[in-house]
Amino acid sequence: MPFYEDIKTISGNLVVDGTIEGKHVKAETITANKFSGAVEEEYRAYSENITMTSYNVLYTLHEFDHPATEWDIAKGRSIDANINYQLYAGTTSNRTGTIITQVEVQVPNFWNPNPIANAFHYSTPAQYWQRVYMVGNHVNKFPSNQVLIDLASPVYKSFKNLRYQYDFELSELVANGNFNGTSDWVVQDGTLEVPYYGKLTGISGSANKAQISQAVSVTAGEKYRLVYNAPVSSDLYKIIVSTTTDPADEIEYQGGLAWGAVIGNNVREFIVDVSTVYIIVQNLNAGDDISYFDDISLKQLEPRTWVDLSAYPSNPISTSAILFSGLTTGATAGTYVVAESITHGISNNGSYSFYTTVPVSAYLGRFHRDMKCRIRAKHQVGAAGYVKMQQIEINFHSRIVG
């Protein structure tokens, strides 16, 4: 059994009248929602009664500043608004069209693009789109609108299909896990055969349980997925992830890495703290017990951020490149960038007036500085009396996002 020590725990409150210092703060141990004060900031703005008479002309509904974060901590910045619109048709005849609402931010005089992560080419999912990935979770560093590639020769690109995946499977680590033969497995106290799957028979009268094992190189601190199959029946064998060929040396992770097998596929995920593990299949009982098993697989799980980049006229990334926030889209200082745009259908439905609420939200990425913002709208409703913004309620947030 490997040596381990319980982490010392303080029950109750710890009050420090001074500064907490340490050589290291372990990742994932301090979460933002455990703080108070400067961690999450929330502000608001409100306005009402802007009448939009002209067709397809942008009207400013409200202007406001998104304040710099407390202590200048880089935080994820967002704007969420709900807008009540009135379509005044002035007739019961049909008046139908759209309202386009935009969240805009002004490009400041000085702007240092914030790095997101190193991105690697993966595929071309559609014409003029390139799929890339980054190792780790970086979704909170992407603004709603664009990314920037290559500071030396800057290119701004739109994107879509941004998502995080915790479990991209890397290559197979177990050799001969489907038992096409008996190679690669070390047999103890029994006989390994491969009729259609693995079959392990113990020795009659033996006090030991038969087992097979295989050493696999792994990386400490990484997450792995173990898949194993019981093709005939449940509860014939145990599978153990150990630091030696001895099942007693199973790795201590969330209660230990030893499990039974139910018929069909079994899936387990765990983090290792060593560089070599032994995958052990052990019969449930000593003596001439028989077990059946198949398709034993161990793969490292890599957390990935996926995104598709606009790729006209060609892929912007050949092999790999660092992505930066492209919030400004490259526009010159003073220009208002459309961070988000929502198109909303509207019709009077036979009434003189029709009312609707439109939500719009934009994520600006992770930074700390003051930003001038505005929300604008235009209507494309032909022959309408007017479209009126009755109320606009705007909430903006700054929150530590890792």
């Binding site: 002309v57 290119v155 739109s158 006209y312 003073g334 208002y336 459309v338």
Partner: protein, 71 residues
């Protein structure tokens, strides 16, 4: 590919139409052209906004930023 242009008001039918001024591969070329376009057209009362965008395909572009004409 950077796409530059402006929204022009047609005074006869009061409609706004988007006019593309030019397209540029190099960012700084696009920024210079954008500022030059503003300088050239800033006194035209019918130019309501200048826009900045990106080409997504030979047939499609996306406006990503606006500068109002302060005439």
């Amino acid at each position: 590919m950077i796409v530059l242009g402006y929204n022009l008001l047609n005074t006869e039918n009061e409609e706004i139409t988007a006019t593309i001024q030019g397209e540029y591969e190099i960012l700084t070329d696009g920024q210079d052209a954008f500022l030059q376009m503003i300088e050239d057209l800033k006194d035209n009362e019918n130019v309501k906004q200048f826009f900045w965008g990106i080409r997504l395909s030979p047939d499609e572009y996306q406006i990503t930023a606006y500068r109002d004409n302060e005439v």
